[in-house]
């Protein structure tokens, strides 16, 4: 019997494309599987990623932006950066894209049950946090988690992703949403300042809490310092690493940090786990 | 394939030629050939470039790798370059590229360089005819065919 090849993507069709920012280099793609069976097999948790294939161009790993609770389709938010993402941006509704996944470990939604979640995101890295927030705030799951705090920073208001859903969350009283931009801007009525000082201002309690941090390296670094000040332990800080990937299944050998593969053992690591690994990421 | 059918296929074979023409002289020359209704073979596809100095040798090699049978590069006559010296730089580049490719076994007939000014519509047509003749003499390009 031939083994099923994990390198072969399943075919999906683009259902919708949403422009996410004013510069128009970030779009959210919604895919429906061509074969319903494949959708059933695509069993994922928030924080996992998948390899998107544009046939003839290549593959790239992208975090899943939709939540498992959003049925029927999956969503990816893609920034136009490299060759494959540029090709993706040129596609239209109805085009075929290959998907391999779900890959990686994802946020530990089971272990986090019963805890307060402090979700801290910066810029375009918010996609898997969108997934997590939707998952945790879904009516089936909301009772499993304590307080839900979302702190989301951007450079300017034009870069804020997922405006509709953010507004929805703001209206709810069981999620504390804090939006911030780096500098004052006309028409912006929410917070102004970098993410780290805003976290300090919000000052979430480390008691029974987990901090989930995802963003550009400088934001992660400054936020970590603030979280340490707030007495979060290394086990309580979860990070999602970024590394160059090709195969996504731990075979091609490029995304290792020490003996761990980011694509297989990650991308989510706790600060405590990372402390044991060489600083090569 | 029998010999007979081979003969037949060469007879019917129409070379595909990619022509890189400089915006200021040769492209205008080609245009003039067009508006003057001068006939020339329809084998060329034109890529307009600002100057022959803009042509990276990659363009030429990639064209061959993509299966184009021949290349035509044409710019302003020496001394007429819109950018003063672009065509001189290009001339050196092509001289070396052509010699190197010839050494490595790529037929020099595939690589055609020339100068055509904006006023030389007639010359452009003749150059295209000559190019097609050159490329036809060496047959289809199978240099970079991949095995799979």
């Amino acid at each position: 019997m031939q083994l099923e090849s994990p390198y072969i993507p399943v075919l999906t069709t683009i259902k919708s494309i949403v422009r996410e920012n004013e510069v128009n280099d970030i779009k959210t793609f919604e895919f429906v599987f061509n074969d319903e069976e494949n959708y059933k097999k695509f069993d994922y948790v928030a924080g996992q990623f998948a390899e998107l294939s544009v046939f003839g161009v290549g593959e790239c790993p992208i975090g899943i932006a939709s939540s498992p609770t959003e049925k029927g389709s999956i969503k990816f938010t893609v920034k136009k950066a490299g060759e494959v993402t540029a090709a993706l941006h040129n596609l239209e509704v109805g085009d075929i894209v290959g998907i391999r996944g779900p890959l990686g470990n994802g946020w530990p939604v089971e272990e986090m049950k019963g805890k307060n979640l402090v979700i801290i995101g910066g810029g375009f890295a918010f996609s898997t946090l969108r997934s997590l927030t939707i998952f945790a705030s879904h009516e089936d799951n909301r009772k499993n988690y304590g307080d839900l705090t979302v702190i989301y920073g951007n450079r300017e208001s034009g870069e804020v992703l997922y405006r509709d859903i953010l507004e929805e969350w703001e209206k709810r009283d069981d999620i504390n949403v804090v939006l911030t931009i780096d500098r004052e801007q006309e028409g912006w009525t929410r917070k102004v300042g970098f993410v780290a000082p805003i976290v300090k201002e919000v000052s979430p309690s480390p008691e029974k809490a987990v901090a989930i941090v995802c963003g550009p390296p400088i934001m992660i670094k400054t936020t970590q310092d603030v979280l340490k000040e707030l007495k979060f332990s290394d086990e309580q800080i979860l990070l999602s690493l970024e590394m160059r990937m090709k195969c996504g299944i731990g075979k091609c050998g490029r995304c290792n940090v020490g003996n761990k593969f980011v694509c297989l053992d990650g991308p989510v690591f706790s600060q405590a786990e990372l402390n044991k690994l060489p600083k090569e990421y | 394939m029998t010999d007979k059918s081979k003969e037949k296929s060469t007879e019917e074979w129409k070379p595909k030629i990619i022509a890189f023409l400089c915006n200021w002289c040769s492209y205008a020359g080609a245009d003039l050939a067009g508006v003057s209704r001068i006939q020339y073979p329809p084998n060329i596809r034109v890529v307009r470039v600002p100057c022959t100095g803009r042509i990276n040798p990659f363009f030429i090699i990639k064209s061959l790798a993509y299966g184009w049978d021949g290349i035509l590069v044409s710019g302003c006559h020496p001394g007429d370059c819109h950018y003063i010296s672009g065509n001189y730089i290009a001339r050196r580049r092509f001289a070396i590229l052509r010699d190197l490719m010839t050494f490595l076994g790529i037929e020099p007939e595939r690589l055609n360089f020339t100068w055509v000014s904006a006023a030389e519509g007639e010359r452009f047509a003749k150059i295209v005819r000559k190019t097609v003749e050159n490329v036809k003499s060496v047959g289809p390009n199978k240099i970079f065919n991949k095995k799979w």
Binding site: I8, I96 | Y66
Partner: protein, 346 residues
């Protein structure tokens, strides 16, 4: 275990017999370089060699390996899977190189995802190893759990003795294979004892490298040690050590297209020695200089491998020593590691 023999002149008969049922890969000399290639003409095979330039991993893990093909039609895409792998014999591989086959089996089936290409090939490959009568001075197989007559990952082991080749079946697969071959005769019992002695003599003559023992724990504390600056300053950053290494298996994935809309996704050998290996689209690169890249190669083989798969990622063939353009010697790194760790202990 079954022992048979064949005279040297008749070896092409044996190859021909194998070819009836199998695709046969063996050492072939091309322009002075020995490679493992499919044998089409039994006379091509070159058994008088010390070791091949490109390791026999190229059979299991080719330089260009098709993952799948596809055909674009309008907006649709059709995916075409690879044809099944044919039954194959690898003939005359050195025992050090054949160790790689069990290593690859380990690696490519480890964890949640199995690599079907390598594993399907492994299932269909029978390995006929050839004992190494003349280990090179750069060989250190005995220091990494191998040996010139190591039986661990071959199905049949051949030992050259006088005018004959002696074949010894190691696995059931190997025994089944030898049983079928008509050109073999029963082994000369008198020679067998002599062969065993010969094997032992050759094996014990290979120098043992100090410091390889337990290198994995020794490396643990040396990640930020200044020794890597010394070891990497001469490196020019080419990929010859990794491409010619039998155990290196990192790859890159690419799409190739034809103009008619068909194409294939392939993987090609890639190496941690290139800066692009880890360069992210954002421009960030965790390993920007030669130092971390050289360190990665050593750590991957001697620290991460034992940690993850409980096996050393090196077979001691010495190819990286022979082929390094700047003559850097991996054995010197072992010595440095040993010296540093003994100093810190003392």
């Amino acid at each position: 275990m079954m022992q048979k023999m064949i005279s040297k002149e008749k070896i092409s008969d044996l190859i021909k017999e194998l070819q009836k049922e199998f695709k046969v890969f063996g050492p072939v000399k091309e322009e002075g370089v020995v490679l493992f290639k499919e044998i089409t003409d039994a006379k091509e095979i070159c058994l008088d060699y010390s070791n091949s330039k490109i390791p026999a991993k190229s059979v299991l893990f080719p330089m260009i390996d098709t993952l799948f093909s596809y055909k674009k039609e309008g907006k649709g895409v059709k995916i075409i899977e690879n044809p099944p792998y044919e039954k194959t014999v690898i003939f005359g591989i050195r025992p050090c190189d054949s160790m790689v086959f069990s290593l690859f089996k380990n690696f490519f089936s480890f964890g949640k995802y199995k690599d079907p290409l390598v594993l399907n090939r492994l299932k269909n490959i029978t390995i006929i190893g050839m004992g190494c009568l003349e280990p090179r001075t750069t060989c250190f197989c005995t220091s990494v759990n191998g040996g010139p007559f190591n039986k661990e990952s071959v199905d049949v082991l051949i030992t050259e003795f006088k005018d004959n080749y002696y074949l010894e079946s190691i696995t059931d697969k190997g025994e089944a294979l030898i049983k079928k071959i008509k050109s073999l005769t029963d082994a000369d019992k008198g020679d067998l004892a002599k062969i065993e002695k010969l094997q032992k003599d050759i094996e014990s003559a290979i120098p043992v490298i100090e410091g390889l023992d337990g290198i994995y724990t020794k490396l643990d504390g040396l990640f930020d040690h200044p020794m890597w600056k010394m070891e990497s300053q001469g490196c020019i950053g080419c990929g010859s050590c990794t491409y010619l290494c039998p155990t290196c298996h990192c790859f890159d994935v690419l799409d190739e297209n034809k103009q008619d809309g068909s194409g294939r996704r392939i993987r090609i050998w890639d190496t941690c020695q290139f800066p692009l290996f880890t360069l992210e689209t954002s421009g960030h690169n965790p390993r920007t200089t030669k130092l971390p890249r050289v360190r990665q190669r050593i750590f991957h083989k001697f620290n991460y491998y034992p940690k993850n798969y409980n096996i050393i990622g090196c077979v001691g063939c010495g190819r990286c020593i022979i082929n390094c353009p700047v003559s850097s010697d991996i054995r010197n790194i072992f010595i440095s590691v040993e010296n540093i760790s003994s100093k810190t202990e003392g």
